[in-house]
């Protein structure tokens, strides 16, 4: 099993979450998180951040732009 310092651990979280670490490193991350309160909190906040990012305010094209694009589609397909 790989041993991580806190400094190293916080840098591999994205790789860990993407399943891009080998088994040895994965085990090391889990072991470290299980016994380090600071990294565990950081890890949870990192995941919470990803969660909030994934819930953005809705975003739409302006209605007049949509209308223009619908007309362009109609004209082009009929040409």
């Amino acid at each position: 099993m790989k041993r991580f310092t806190c400094d190293e651990l916080v840098e591999v979280i994205t790789a860990y979450l993407d399943h891009a670490l080998d088994q040895r490193a994965c085990d090391g991350v889990r072991r470290h998180l299980a016994c380090c309160e600071g990294c565990e909190r950081y890890f949870e906040q990192f995941r919470a951040t990803i969660g909030v990012l994934g819930d953005p305010p809705p975003e739409k094209l302006r209605a007049d732009v949509q209308d223009r694009l619908m007309s362009a589609f109609r004209e082009r397909r009929q040409a």
């Binding site: 916080v10 600071g38 950081y42 906040q45 694009l69």
Partner: protein, 210 residues
């Protein structure tokens, strides 16, 4: 063709056939489903909402003109986003907002920014965050996130927008941006760490006095 509201889009071959046949409901469904994401990604290249809107509009016009020659070597979605990125890059360069990506060595490699862990390990556990409850907090948090994204180096912003805001896979992001998986991961990690830092600062600033 009926509405796809809430049900996601049909498979690519159905979409392409419908578009080629001039199916307006299908085009409207695509506009509805993808324009939000396209706008968000466009913003990482250009400086104003207006420019982002024009980039997205030009992207859709390019799709209308190009759908007959679409060869299906990628998914329709990654094809459209590649068009967007190409248009947005050119526009960004004109606005001098976006330098060529090679000019951003600093936002991908190295570790100029100090990490979150103080030398010698955590002196204290990072302060707990409140559970986001209530509309007011949620909307403030969204504001903090928007500002944090605005403050990111462009490449980091593009990657985190595609991965975390739009929920893309690493493979799709690498394909659209033509970067390696390792590079993608570094950019994503730095971006996430920066956004987490902004959230931590925000929660610290609104903490009730003890």
């Amino acid at each position: 063709m009926g509405s796809f509201a809430g049900g996601g889009l049909p498979p690519d071959d159905v979409v392409v056939t419908a578009l080629r046949a001039g199916d307006e409901a299908m085009f409207a469904a695509l506009l509805d489903t993808w324009s939000g994401g396209l706008l968000r990604v466009a913003r990482s290249y250009v400086s104003t909402d207006h420019s982002a809107e024009e980039v997205v509009q030009d992207t859709w016009l390019a799709l209308i003109g190009g759908i007959d020659s679409f060869e299906g070597r990628s998914s329709v979605k990654t094809w459209v986003y590649r068009i967007l990125v190409n248009i947005a890059k050119k526009r960004g360069v004109r606005e001098s907002r976006t330098l060529p990506w090679s000019a951003f060595e600093g936002d991908g490699g190295g570790s100029a920014v100090p990490g979150p862990v103080p030398p010698g390990g955590w002196k204290e556990v990072p302060a707990a965050w409140p559970t986001p409850e209530g509309e007011a907090l949620a909307s403030e948090v969204r504001g903090v996130i928007a500002e944090a994204l605005d403050g990111l180096p462009p490449r980091q912003r593009t990657v985190i927008t595609l991965r975390d805001v739009e929920g893309w896979s690493s493979d799709d992001v690498c394909e659209v941006l033509e970067i390696s998986a390792a590079n993608q991961r570094v950019l994503l990690h730095r971006a996430r760490a920066a956004v987490r830092g902004r959230l931590a600062d925000y929660f610290e600033s609104v903490k009730p006095p003890e």
